[in-house]
């Protein structure tokens, strides 16, 4: 029985054979006024019946009003366009090819205000349907429905095919007028100066994603023996933890929405990579370094308003930073005299200088509250040029001369505009 019902329903659906060629979502107003436009004044549906069909098929439509559009029926320009439209309405033809070219016709459509014109023209076994509103000089929706002498069934079919959508409240005359003079929500002038300050968290690691492990494994897998011995000391990641979370504080400004400058501070605590099998560390309670980065970035950005309350600003930045390490080391409480190796443990340079490079985006809500996502590369080293000296060959390598890592960060910001 159920199967039969399904088959019947499919048959009914097939028999109705209505087809939508295109529907670019015209606005269906609550209490809509629908003008039925036919070429010969012999409408295949009855205006009052059509209104009842609308109410049956769309509970949100309120109390629609329907009438035949005699003004267009009697008008030469409209009739010419109408017969042309009937002649040209084809499946798969984009609506732009159905534009009314005659200025008189275009003016007629534009002056519809919030009324809907329902164009109906018989074509063999079908009725062509096209729907116009004031917003376009071409039909907003078009298709065909199966012709029938039963005007009520035809009305129902048209209503179900083209008018079965959510309705909007109609605006009053004053509201329409106001809307026309209302400024564009997305219009805004680029502020000459935008300032922001924020705090964030992030994560940095020495290994770059999507690159082979062996590029960095010599640094990341390194361990420190005897308080100072590693295979290689060119990168600080041979000594201290190379993947850690950091926190950041920053403030910046953008000039004319395009170029900006940003001061930032980052802090992370890095454990020493001590070799656990080395017995000399038995005396040690903890050994770590606080990493302080202070940097200055130049930013290039462009703001795109998405909605009145949400902007996206993609950013590219390039900057430099100074990095300081503060050592935090302590022996176990029972140890009186530290070992010789402890006394002569590795010392880092006072300050490292490096570069920052990256991209990101600021997502600003309600003009003030920003979320900031960044990703980039940062380096620390001693790239200050020194004149070669005769002792150069004998001089020890600078520890951490090439310390590079990558980072991602998430920040919460507050924005001001001046």
């Amino acid at each position: 029985m159920k199967k039969l019902l399904v088959i019947l329903m499919i048959l009914v659906a097939w028999a109705s054979a209505s087809e939508v060629y295109f529907d670019s979502r015209f606005t269906l107003w609550k209490d809509a006024t629908v003008y039925i436009w036919t070429l010969d004044g012999n409408s295949p549906v009855n205006a009052n019946e059509f209104c009842l069909s609308l109410r049956r098929n769309n509970t949100g439509i309120g109390e629609p009003k329907c009438r035949e559009l005699g003004e267009w029926e009697r008008d030469t320009i409209a009739t010419r366009y109408g017969s042309w439209l009937s002649n040209n309405l084809e499946k798969n033809l984009p609506s732009s090819y159905l534009r009314a070219r005659h200025p008189g016709m275009a003016a007629k459509i534009q002056s519809l205000e919030d009324n809907i014109v329902l164009f109906l023209a018989p074509q063999g076994k079908f009725i062509q349907v096209a729907i116009f509103d004031e917003t376009a000089q071409e039909p907003k929706a078009a298709g065909i429905v199966k012709a029938t002498n039963d005007k009520i069934a035809l009305s129902d079919d048209i209503a179900a095919t083209f008018f079965n959508k959510r309705t909007k409240r109609r605006l009053t005359k004053e509201e329409r007028l106001k809307q026309q003079t209302e400024p564009d929500d997305l219009y805004k002038e680029v502020p000459s100066l935008k300032i922001w300050a924020g705090a964030g968290i992030g994560y940095s690691q020495a290994h770059f994603p999507l690159t082979p492990d062996n590029w960095t494994s010599s640094h990341t897998k390194s361990q420190v023996k005897n308080y100072r011995v590693t295979k290689d000391s060119v990168s600080l990641w041979n000594f201290i933890n190379d993947d850690d979370a950091f926190m950041s504080l920053y403030a910046g400004l953008t000039w004319h929405g395009f170029i900006g400058i940003e001061l930032m501070y980052r802090y992370s605590s890095r454990d020493m990579k001590t070799d656990k099998s080395d017995t000399i560390y038995h005396e040690l309670d903890h050994w770590e370094f606080g990493q302080h980065d202070i940097g200055l970035n130049i930013l290039l950005s462009m703001t795109y308003p998405i909605t009145p309350w949400f902007d996206i600003t993609p950013i590219a930045f390039l900057g430099f930073q100074y990095t300081f390490y503060s050592e935090d080391i302590a022996l176990k409480s029972g140890v009186r005299t530290p070992s010789n190796a402890y006394q002569r443990r590795i010392k880092f340079e006072d300050v490292y200088k490096g570069a920052l490079l990256g991209i990101g985006g600021q997502f600003v809500f309600k003009k003030h509250y920003g979320l900031d996502l960044r990703a980039g590369l940062s380096s620390r080293g001693r790239d200050i040029y020194e004149a070669p000296s005769p002792d150069a060959g004998a001089a020890p390598t600078t520890i951490g001369k090439s310390t590079i890592d990558c980072f991602v960060s998430l920040g919460f910001e507050y924005h001001w505009t001046l």
Partner: protein
């Protein structure tokens, strides 16, 4: 929307920098253009479409008086055009220009910056010949410019049309630039529109060279009408 526009304009700027602004589409077909005209065609616009620039240059070579070069030269072109078209389409109907020029002039978009200007019949109104018959397709010749060393982008790309032409020097080619529309007279829609350019190297320029130019133009139009068919 603004976002989309900005992206588009950035894309456009990149496009300009990359130099792809040089590539134009010079033809446009209606999605329903499935069959090129064969055997019969109607033509309109040929009374006024032909324009000869550099009258003096042509007058000297074609041995026609300077004051009558426009009239005699363009009449020659028109007659050649008609004869050539008649050779190609046995059943040729020539509609007077007035059949079409009574409609307002409109722009037809061919490409992003390329627009044809011309008279196009109103939607719902068919063109009829003197006997009252309705020819199914009509070739509307909008413009046929004859000159020396002309480039069609200087005439049809709206970003370039204000460019001054170069100084008068010894020309290399006689050029013909012509725009036309194949009009579906039954459904009143443009089936195919194009702007074509022909360059004819100059050796000695006589009237038969001009005849040849028009012949080549007709061949080019026919070729384009075939190639423009939407498969």
């Amino acid at each position: 929307m603004t976002f989309k526009k900005s992206i588009l304009s950035i894309g456009f700027a990149i496009c300009m920098l990359a130099g792809c602004a040089d590539s134009y589409h010079w033809t446009a077909s209606h999605p329903s253009y499935h069959k090129a005209p064969y055997g019969g065609i109607a033509v309109t616009g040929i009374e006024n479409a032909f324009v000869i620039t550099r009258s003096n240059w042509f007058a000297k070579r074609l041995e026609i008086g300077t004051d009558s070069i426009q009239i005699k030269g363009t009449l020659h072109c028109r007659n050649t055009f008609e004869t050539e078209l008649r050779k190609a389409y046995g059943n040729l109907i020539v509609l007077p220009d007035s059949a079409n020029t009574k409609f307002p002039e409109e722009s037809l978009k061919i490409d992003e910056r390329i627009f044809i200007k011309g008279h196009i019949p109103e939607q719902g109104v068919t063109l009829k010949d003197s006997a009252g018959n309705v020819p199914p397709v009509v070739l509307i010749l909008h413009e046929f410019i004859i000159g020396t060393d002309l480039k069609r982008e200087n005439f049809f790309d709206y970003a370039l049309i204000h460019n001054e032409s170069g100084s008068l020097r010894k020309p290399d080619n006689v050029s013909a630039i012509f725009s036309y529309t194949l009009w579906d007279n039954l459904k009143q829609r443009p089936l195919f529109s194009a702007v074509d350019e022909l360059q004819q190297p100059i050796t000695i320029y006589k009237l038969n060279n001009l005849t040849n130019l028009i012949q080549l133009a007709v061949q080019k139009i026919r070729k384009n009408l075939y190639e423009g068919v939407v498969k």
